[in-house]
Symmetry: C2
Subunit: 337 residues, 2 copies
């Protein structure tokens, strides 16, 4: 393929160079049919505009960053699919970053982005606390950010999330209705956004049904399976729950493993429901009851908000939350004995 | 945070501007300790070099692209973790692209990358065929590419993959040793690299044990679960296999579902082994026998090769394959009845 320029392409199409150039700049100031014709010809000839050069002119990277705490869980992969559906339709690239749940990593990543590498950021937050200078720095550079799933509530932007409190309330109530009296709540960091909100739902369901909130039944543990299995084993032995609400998928999985090792039968000895987007909950033994979040939808909507704020800054006075409904799927793991 | 420049940073450290600049350019021409000191101070002050500006000067994007056919299967998420371990240690960014198994999408993505957006590409190929102009265009721009898992064998570069033929041979032989006589091979596109290589291993194991290779027992199907379940159902009904080698995870999952619906017991009526990096094979019912590829290692090694070829073009006369060993994990799904 020889070095094809925008001038060659314009000549082939019988159009002006500036018209062709507008097609690649994603300008609205061009007839959609003309634009389609230009892009089709460019595709056919294997021409792509020099992004370096167009970065300079438009000072836009045509790239957005997705920052997530972890990779390879179904929730985030579905959310990213939703985001990419939107970004691709806008002709944008996506950079995906994983923080490993470390707010320091998040800060390093965000800082490295604040000098023009991306036009906007979609993030599921990794930390708690109140010092979010890295986010403020980003915003001072007029790079908009949208949160999904996990947020920092002191940042005035859009936050797209599931109806976590309500879903957690329903999941807990479901266990109560199936006879559980000592329900444990398993969480990774009960102080961060989703951990906290899901615990509120759990606590409200207990209160509604006159069950005490017992600190010994709340297990705040870690991501690493080896470590959280140890904690869950201790919980099962010492606090003898008859039901478990796992606020994240990996803790539901660990509970299944530990229960098996401890000779506890699910659902006879202990019932289990967990937040999960796993697509083989029907194949595990017993089939797993889950709160399934609308991950794909969530990504799509977060990306749509980001492009809105790229087109016109939102200037919100407070954080604006969009809540999407989760689906509760009751299977064998929470069945009445 | 005010606009900190590289000059301010150099002054704070008592170093020359060019030394500080080298730390950010990932130059080898700098004392590692000095570099660490510069990066630590930059981190502390929230300084990041202006990538736009440094792109221009060095004409390097400090970014590599990862192109994969799909997202949200454990194999690719582990491989990406391996790649990111290396890229992050080099101070590089990664762009992740998903082709949805469409070679047209792959071509569009690759073309959009060939004008300076990335310095190199790590790819698991989406297509078959022989016309790989998009890859050739990339190489004509001196952007190196490394394949992992799935390759195009006409491109002279490095290819990092599992010992698929041998692993597939062993998996098939394992089913034969457990009494199977009519073993089906399930694949998504038997003509692309891994589909073909894994079928070779299957065929060789049959031949070694004097079993006929029967075309009716080879099912070439699609990614979509609904569609491939229909195909698998037809296979189970019409060709009555007593064993199944699934060349990809999703086909093992679909086989479990269809067998259950058809009232076939695994392993009593039909035995199953599949390529998979799923981490809950012990929790599915029955526990699933798998060929587990070293996905994380594969990503790490592919990235290491890419950085080698960024440092010094490889100029290979033919494709150079690095083969990594998979682990066979035998569980209940393939047990002798």
């Amino acid at each position: 393929m020889s070095q094809l320029t925008i001038i060659d392409l314009a000549a082939k199409l019988g159009l002006s160079k500036s018209t062709v150039s507008r097609a690649f700049r994603n300008s609205s100031d061009i007839n959609p049919e003309t634009k389609a014709r230009i892009l089709a010809m460019a595709e056919e000839l294997g021409f792509s505009p020099n992004t370096h050069a167009s970065n300079l002119r438009g000072s836009k990277s045509q790239t957005i960053a997705i920052i997530i705490p972890e990779f390879g869980n179904k929730f985030f992969s579905l959310a990213i699919k939703g985001i990419e559906l939107v970004t691709r339709s806008k002709g944008y690239h996506t950079l995906i970053y994983v923080t490993d749940h470390q707010v320091q990593n998040e800060a390093t990543i965000v800082r490295s982005l604040s000098n023009g590498r991306v036009d906007g950021v979609i993030m599921s937050a990794s930390g708690e606390g109140h010092e979010h200078n890295h986010i403020k720095q980003l915003r001072s550079k007029n790079i908009p950010i949208v949160f999904f799933d996990r947020n920092y509530d002191d940042i005035n932007t859009v936050y797209v999330t599931g109806n976590d409190e309500e879903a957690s309330f329903k999941a807990t109530e479901h266990l109560i209705e199936n006879g559980c009296k000592r329900i444990a709540y398993l969480v990774i960091n009960k102080n961060i956004s989703i951990g906290k909100v899901r615990m509120d739902g759990y606590a409200k369901a207990l209160a509604k049904h006159g069950l005490p909130f017992d600190d010994h039944l709340v297990l705040d543990t870690v991501n690493e399976a080896e470590e959280n299995c140890k904690d869950i084993r201790q919980l099962l032995r010492e606090s003898r729950p008859d039901g478990v609400v796992a606020s994240v998928e990996r803790l539901a999985i660990s509970t299944m493993r530990v229960a098996r090792e401890e000779g506890l039968k699910i659902p006879d000895d202990i019932k289990l429901i967990g937040f999960s987007c796993l697509d083989i909950t029907d194949l595990v033994q017993p089939s797993l009851s889950v709160v399934k979040q609308p991950a794909f939808e969530m990504g799509k909507i977060a990306a749509t908000y980001l492009f809105e704020s790229l087109a016109k800054p939102l200037n919100l006075k407070e954080q604006e939350t969009t809540i999407l409904e989760s689906t509760l799927i009751y299977q064998d793991s929470s069945k009445k004995s």
